[in-house]
């Protein structure tokens, strides 16, 4: 079978005029020459990559996948996708280190960490000697920002809440009249930050939606970015099976993790080469939550009964959001909240890139990449920073000491939702 995506990637190679704008803009190449830059490992090295021949160069492993190259390329070469596939080919040839296999399973780790025993897990992972050992044995950097597990999962909260609501039927009106959305929470909201999911549910309900908690699993992005395409394919196909019935009914899938929503919309279909009608239907039916809210606002359907928030906060649009190529939905929507002022970060990347900055050999690169952002956040003097992506939030807080939240939490606050 002809892989149409492979074909379009290969054809996009010929659009490269070697102007090096991507290399000039690459935040990783700017701080280390372990990564020779997107042009070399992408369109240039691709000429030397062939099926059934060994990969010529492993420096592509230092690509963080931030996609700044795609964004600035004046001729439309799909550099980040080329790099992701090249990494996949290396993993297929040489196998995947145990460390990467572990950190790519965010759902498994989350499930094991979350629950009443979470304080114990969190203590263990903040215990310096333990982190030294993990660093030594597993090559996960001892200072890298690991999230703190929650004592309860978002799903358990949601189900509990529904049971309570069921006993009081007046609290939730019959669903037949209501518009419905499926909420895609992702692993981080489920196991580490249920508060993000609670805010999302509350905001969607304030806008008259009934929120459905569909069965779902990890979107597979950590597997894609670590090059395990075979497992990522299984994950994505499972999500498509679970979400398709809703999408076919015209019920949108809305997520708070920009990287999960990007994976459902584009990364999984394109990088993994999944092109069935079902996969594309799920892609077309998936929205990042602020994209969804902005569309409501554009149709004058957004509930704008906000209370004023006299706050000025730094906001970092994460790489994965920019890769949606939608502008700044968060700024557009939050500009409707009276009094709230967001200072937009102009930094390209926080450095963490999912699991990239956790790795011992890449931790310092990630911290150097994010230096400009950290300076911006510290310099803002604000007590809180906003960012849509969970790993970026953890990185920002790790590097600056400034707590960080998902913008949906501020929107919930503007609706006066008690949490």
């Amino acid at each position: 079978m002809i892989d149409h995506i492979e074909l379009s990637l290969t054809q996009s190679l010929d659009h490269c005029i070697k102007c090096n704008i991507c290399t000039a803009a690459c935040p990783v190449a700017a701080v280390t020459d372990k990564f020779p830059g997107p042009k070399y490992v992408g369109p240039q090295a691709q000429r030397f990559r062939h099926d059934r021949q060994p990969s010529p160069d492993s420096s592509v492993d230092y690509c963080s996948g931030c996609r700044v190259c795609n964004q600035v390329c004046p001729t439309g070469v799909r550099i980040a996708e080329l790099n992701a596939r090249a990494r996949g080919q290396i993993v297929a040839e040489r196998g995947m280190p145990l460390r990467n296999r572990l950190i790519a399973r965010s759902e498994l780790i989350g499930r094991l960490s979350c629950g009443p025993h979470a304080p114990l897990v969190n203590f263990g992972l903040s215990f310096k000697p333990a982190r030294w050992l993990i660093d030594l044995v597993m090559k996960i950097h001892r200072d890298a920002p690991l999230p703190r597990a929650s004592t309860y999962s978002f799903r358990s909260w949601f189900k509990r809440r529904r049971r309570t609501a069921d006993r009081r039927p007046s609290a939730v009106s019959p669903s037949s009249e209501k518009r419905q959305v499926v909420y895609f929470h992702g692993c981080s909201t489920n196991y580490y930050e249920p508060r993000v999911g609670k805010a999302a549910v509350a905001v969607l309900e304030r806008n008259g939606f009934e929120v459905i908690l569909a069965e779902q699993n990890c979107c597979g992005l950590p597997l894609i970015s670590n090059g395990d395409f075979a497992t990522a394919r299984k994950y994505h196909e499972a999500n498509v099976r679970k979400l398709l019935p809703y999408v076919r009914q015209g019920i949108p899938v809305v997520g708070t993790s920009t990287s999960c929503t990007l994976t459902l919309k584009e990364e999984a279909p394109e990088i993994l080469g999944l092109t069935s009608d079902d996969v594309l239907a799920v892609a077309k039916g998936t929205y990042d939550i602020f994209e969804f809210l902005r569309e409501l606002a554009e149709r004058d359907e957004l509930n704008t009964e906000f209370r004023p928030l006299e706050r000025e906060l730094p906001y970092h649009p994460p790489c994965q959001y920019r890769a949606h190529r939608l502008g700044r939905p968060v700024l557009d929507v939050l500009s409707l909240v009276p009094g709230l002022k967001l200072m937009e970060s102009r930094a390209d990347c926080c450095g963490i890139a999912g699991t990239y900055g956790l790795k011992t050999e890449k931790y310092q690169i990630a911290m150097d990449v994010g230096a400009g952002l950290f300076e911006f956040v510290r310099g803002s003097g604000a007590e809180l920073a906003l960012c849509d992506s969970e790993t970026c939030r953890w990185q920002i807080t790790h590097a600056t000491g400034v707590p960080s939240q998902h913008p949906i939490e501020i929107l919930a606050e503007a609706y006066g939702i008690e949490r």
Binding site: V72, P74, E298
Partner: protein, 419 residues
């Protein structure tokens, strides 16, 4: 979200137009596929390759060729546009020098002299009148920077009668060992210890050779170029001037940043990485063409719709990507599908000789417009009443051969900002 004006394209023409609209108090968005041709060009402003008085030549050209973009925009728009551009660069701490009444001749990385009009102050000391003052000049570079050969530049300048020597400097110790593109150098030159070592070497050469000035590749800082050049002059004890390199062009990126900052300060927004692929016309009949109500940019999984009252198309010509040659032998305008004025058949695109005196007809192809820069069809009727076309996308001129790429961008971009 609705805008008063949306500009498509983020080169000089698009940014000048956006700046003009934003300064009139409009809500302005710039949509662009990637970084523009600023990053490919020298960072100088060429008006017209025609004798000593470029503005006078522009006025004569406008009288002789009523279809030329200069005739449509008018010499006054060119003058006022240049003033606005200078003010934006001044505000960014990166002054431009020169006068539209005088042609400057600056050395290229081949050692040829190239006519231009406004140049960054960081290049001024290399102007041919200064090189001819009888005092010797040194051209210095680093072997690690590709495509910049001081001995060749010096030899070619000597052949034109100037007293010039060329040397390679030793690369100061850095944490980098492999990748040395122009942008990497620009960042290195912003480090004091790097400059100090270069300065020591230059001072030694100046002391021994009695050089009055030193030409270096145009990589002397990205955001703080004026400061870097001043500091190097103090250290070297001679004037320093920059010579444009091959792309990626650091002076071009500085020009982009200066205009971007001015636009943001005026409240405008930029969305880079969003390729506009079609427009939507209203069915309302104006008697003067249709009304463009929205455009759609490529995005993950589905297009993004953008609405505005007024539009500026600044996507460039054949080189800039605004016009594409189809395999059918036709030229297509990529964003809105506007009618292209081009040679009647593929066979007439190119003259038989590569260096044909009159140039190649295809490079004068573009969008024909009326006096208000509105696009016209083959019969001369207005296509859209609320669209202005600016810069390289326009028909009726050959920007490279005529040496007027930036001048036309400034004049028409400024004019569209004031309409």
């Amino acid at each position: 979200m609705n805008y008063d004006t949306i500009v498509i394209g983020a080169g000089i023409a698009g940014l000048m137009a956006a700046l003009g609209r934003a300064e009139r108090g409009e809500r302005v968005l710039v949509l662009a596929k990637g970084h523009g041709t600023t990053h490919w060009a020298s960072g100088c402003i060429d008006l017209l390759d025609a004798g000593d008085d470029p503005l006078g030549a522009v006025e004569r050209l406008a009288a002789e060729r009523p279809d030329h973009p200069y005739a449509l925009a008018g010499a006054a728009a060119l003058e006022r546009g240049l003033e606005r551009l200078r003010a934006a660069c001044e505000a960014a701490g990166y002054p431009l020098v020169g006068s539209p009444r005088r042609t400057l001749l600056l050395p290229t990385a081949m050692g040829a002299l190239r006519p231009t009009v406004l140049v960054p102050a960081t290049m001024a000391a290399g102007e041919s009148r200064q090189l001819a003052d009888g005092r010797p000049t040194l051209i210095a570079g680093l072997r690690e920077l590709r495509d910049f050969y001081p001995p060749m530049i010096a030899a070619n300048l000597r052949a034109q009668g100037f007293a010039v020597d060329g040397v390679y400097l030793r690369l100061p110790p850095t944490d980098r060992s492999k990748e040395f593109g122009p942008m990497i150098y620009a960042r290195l030159f912003e480090r004091e210890e790097f400059r100090a070592e270069i300065g020591r070497q230059l001072a030694e050469h100046v002391r021994r050779g009695g050089y009055a000035r030193v030409g270096l590749p145009a990589v002397l800082g990205l955001r703080r170029a004026s400061e870097v050049v001043r500091d190097l002059q103090d250290r070297a004890g001679a004037l320093i001037f920059e010579i444009p390199t091959l792309p990626t062009s650091v002076p071009g990126a500085r020009l982009f940043h200066a205009l971007e900052e001015a636009l943001r300060a005026a409240g405008g927004r930029l969305q880079i990485g969003s390729f506009v692929q079609r427009g939507e016309a209203s069915d309302q009949e104006t008697g003067e063409g249709a009304v463009l109500v929205a455009v759609y940019s490529e995005a993950a999984a589905r297009e993004q719709r953008h609405g505005a009252r007024r539009w500026v198309l600044a996507t460039g010509g054949v080189a800039g990507g605004g016009l594409r040659a189809e395999h059918t032998g036709e030229l297509r305008e990529t964003a809105l599908g506007l009618p292209v004025r081009a040679p009647a058949s593929r066979a007439e695109w190119l003259a038989p000789r590569f260096l044909a005196e009159g140039g190649h007809p295809v490079f004068s192809a573009g969008i024909a417009v009326d006096a208000a820069l509105r696009p016209l069809d083959a019969a001369g009727r207005v296509v859209y009443s609320n669209v202005a076309v600016v810069g390289g996308a326009l028909a009726g001129f050959d920007p490279i051969r005529e040496g007027c790429l930036e001048g036309v961008a400034v004049a028409t971009g400024y004019a569209a900002g004031q309409l």
